[in-house]
């Protein structure tokens, strides 16, 4: 039977399953599930509600920042300043509240700080053509230094009149015994997923990562969008900082030190491509989950914590190796 042109055009090339199997994210999910099943049998401590509560909550801080980072990475950029921005936002919140202001004002100040830093990063990158790596490396240093200045490098653990509200915000479990940070993470992941898939803004982010020149030629407002993604990245760091402050009940200038690498690792393990054009909200969460499960399991299995880096590094390389193998096969 002859196939008409219209039939060919209407045809879908890949079924849902073949697409699913070809994504890196899917295999990372499988890896996380297998690891969890293995750990439930291998140790008594893993499948306890307390441990699961801890794991899910620990995932959230990296995951929330990874959601913001996903936007940046899809455009082909990178944001190394997130750990320091998280620290500075926490510190602004802590210092503001410590000075006697309400939690609303504290959060507002904290978010405003994060957005200002994101706008600064984005403007240098989009309008002045600075390489993202350099700008955010500079900001990594600047933001942490500002956090030290703001607190005079002390630990802040008294948050004024709204002290208890802040602790409840980050440390409570308002719904079905799920830790609050997990709820925020789920909400933010849904928002991120929606933006990436269903909005013009999301579409343009992918276009910039795929071919920035083409995006410019077709009238995509490339510069504005670039500023926006660095603001989103900084905002996600700020939000994570606020939640973490509430959970820890104290802020030190060490907070979020080295976090940028974990965040980037989570997005890459979850399937984002550092060259740009690829990434999902779900992938960022799954990547963060795999890192946390590895870390947790090493502790439970009684393996020396010094090995942690080897396993997490190995996971990054394996995830990307997988992607490479698929690409080789496709180009054959």
């Amino acid at each position: 039977m002859a196939v008409t042109l219209d039939q060919t055009i209407a045809q879908k090339q890949h079924s849902f399953l073949s697409r699913l199997f070809s994504t890196q994210t899917f295999w990372v999910v499988i890896a996380v599930i297998l690891a969890c099943i293995f750990l439930s049998f291998a140790t008594d401590a893993f499948a306890t509600s307390k441990n699961l509560y801890n794991i899910t909550r620990n995932i959230t801080f990296v995951a929330i920042v990874a959601l913001g980072m996903t936007f940046v990475i899809i455009t082909g950029g990178i944001d190394l300043s997130v750990g320091s921005v998280l620290c500075l936002s926490s510190m602004v919140l802590a210092v503001t509240m410590h000075a006697g202001y309400s939690i609303e004002i504290g959060i507002l100040a904290s978010i405003a700080t994060a957005l200002a830093i994101g706008a600064f990063n984005g403007t240098l990158i989009a309008y002045l053509g600075f390489p993202p790596f350099v700008v955010t490396l500079g900001m990594l240093s600047i933001a942490r230094s500002l956090a030290m200045v703001a607190s005079n490098n002390t630990v802040v653990f008294q948050f004024g009149p709204d002290h208890d509200k802040l602790l409840a915000l980050g440390g409570g479990a308002w719904l079905f015994g799920i830790a609050n940070p997990v709820l925020y993470m789920i909400l933010l992941a849904l928002i991120t997923g929606f933006i990436l898939r269903w909005t013009k803004f999301g579409r343009h982010i992918f276009a910039i990562g795929g071919n920035e020149h083409a995006a410019t030629l077709t009238g995509v407002p490339v510069k504005q969008i670039k500023v926006a993604v660095y603001m989103i990245s900084a905002l996600s760091a700020g939000i994570a900082g606020i939640i973490q402050t509430g959970w820890l009940g104290a802020v030190t200038t060490n907070l979020g030190n080295g976090m940028e690498l974990q965040v980037i690792a989570a997005t890459v393990i979850g399937g984002a491509d550092l060259a740009g054009g690829v990434g999902t909200a779900f992938g960022a969460i799954v990547g963060a989950a795999l890192i946390e499960v590895i870390r947790n399991s090493l502790g439970l299995l009684g393996i020396n914590a010094f090995w942690q880096g080897v396993f997490i590094g190995g996971a990054i390389l394996l995830a990307v190796l997988f992607d490479r193998i698929r690409n080789f096969r496709r180009s054959d």
């Binding site: 795929g210 083409a214 030629l217």
Partner: protein, 265 residues
């Protein structure tokens, strides 16, 4: 007048002279002391394929960039449908119905064919500020455009996986979204296989059949003689020939490009 022509959908519109869709009168462009384009006049009619040929540095790119709104002419007037055309940026050219297919096609490999067709002009549905991308409508319309172009291109496929001919179809379908009157194509057949060249030339014919004027900038003599109605040759910023294909020959055009033949009227 134009409406009738569009409906006619073919080139059989009698012996009378048509209103030019684009008319350049005494256009010059210099960059400092360099005279890139020198006193060029030409007119292009609806549904006509014009081959624009010339060696590197002959001024054809500069000429096209003025039509596309990248440069202002130093002297001269451009008219579109008889009205003077003043372009400050490429977006304004597009509003006037001038579309460009860039040499590198300006495609995003990580997006689907439909997403590329609609890049920068995405369709959305919803109410007020709450509007989401209308995937179904974009797939459907892009599929229709590919069908019109007789190209086996699937709207849901990633551009990454496509052949050179399909990629051209995506770039050309993009120009058909709006009511394009003239499409400028920059070396569309320069970097693709022989079989795909035939595909691209067919795409050009389908554009022409819809009453769209095509300016084909090319180095490849066989392509121009295959698809074009007219050939314009430029050398050192001047127009040295403007002839129907029937009245010219590849040998003559080669001579004009190299300068072995000075000028023909």
């Amino acid at each position: 007048m134009r409406c009738d022509l569009e409906q006619a959908g073919s080139k059989e519109w009698g012996g009378y002279r048509l209103v030019a869709v684009l008319e350049l009168t005494n256009i010059s462009k210099h960059f400092g002391a360099i005279q890139a384009v020198n006193d060029v006049s030409l007119s292009i009619e609806p549904g006509q394929v014009v081959g624009l040929m010339g060696d590197n540095g002959a001024g054809k790119s500069t000429l096209v960039k003025m039509i596309a709104g990248n440069f202002h002419p130093s002297h001269g007037i451009m008219r579109m449908d008889g009205k003077e055309l003043l372009l400050n940026k490429p977006a304004e050219a597009r509003q006037h119905g001038i579309e460009i297919v860039h040499q590198d096609l300006a495609l995003c490999n990580n997006l689907t064919a439909a997403a590329n067709v609609y890049l920068g002009r995405e369709l959305r549905r919803g109410i007020g500020p709450f509007r989401i991308l209308d995937y179904a409508a974009m797939y459907k319309r892009a599929g229709k455009l590919f069908a019109e172009l007789k190209s086996e291109t699937r709207p849901r496929d990633l551009v990454k996986q496509m052949s050179g001919g399909q990629r051209q179809a995506v770039a050309i379908a993009r120009t058909m979204l709006s009511q394009a009157k003239i499409v400028l194509m920059d070396e569309p057949t320069a970097a693709i296989s022989v079989r795909q060249v035939a595909e691209v030339l067919n795409l050009i014919r389908h554009l022409r059949d819809q009453g769209i004027a095509v300016v084909l900038i090319s180095h490849r003599m066989p392509d121009v003689f295959d698809v074009a109605d007219r050939v314009i040759v430029m050398r050192r910023g001047r127009k040295v020939a403007d002839k129907t294909i029937a009245s010219s020959s590849p040998e003559e055009v080669t001579g004009l490009i190299t300068g072995a033949i000075e000028q023909v009227s």
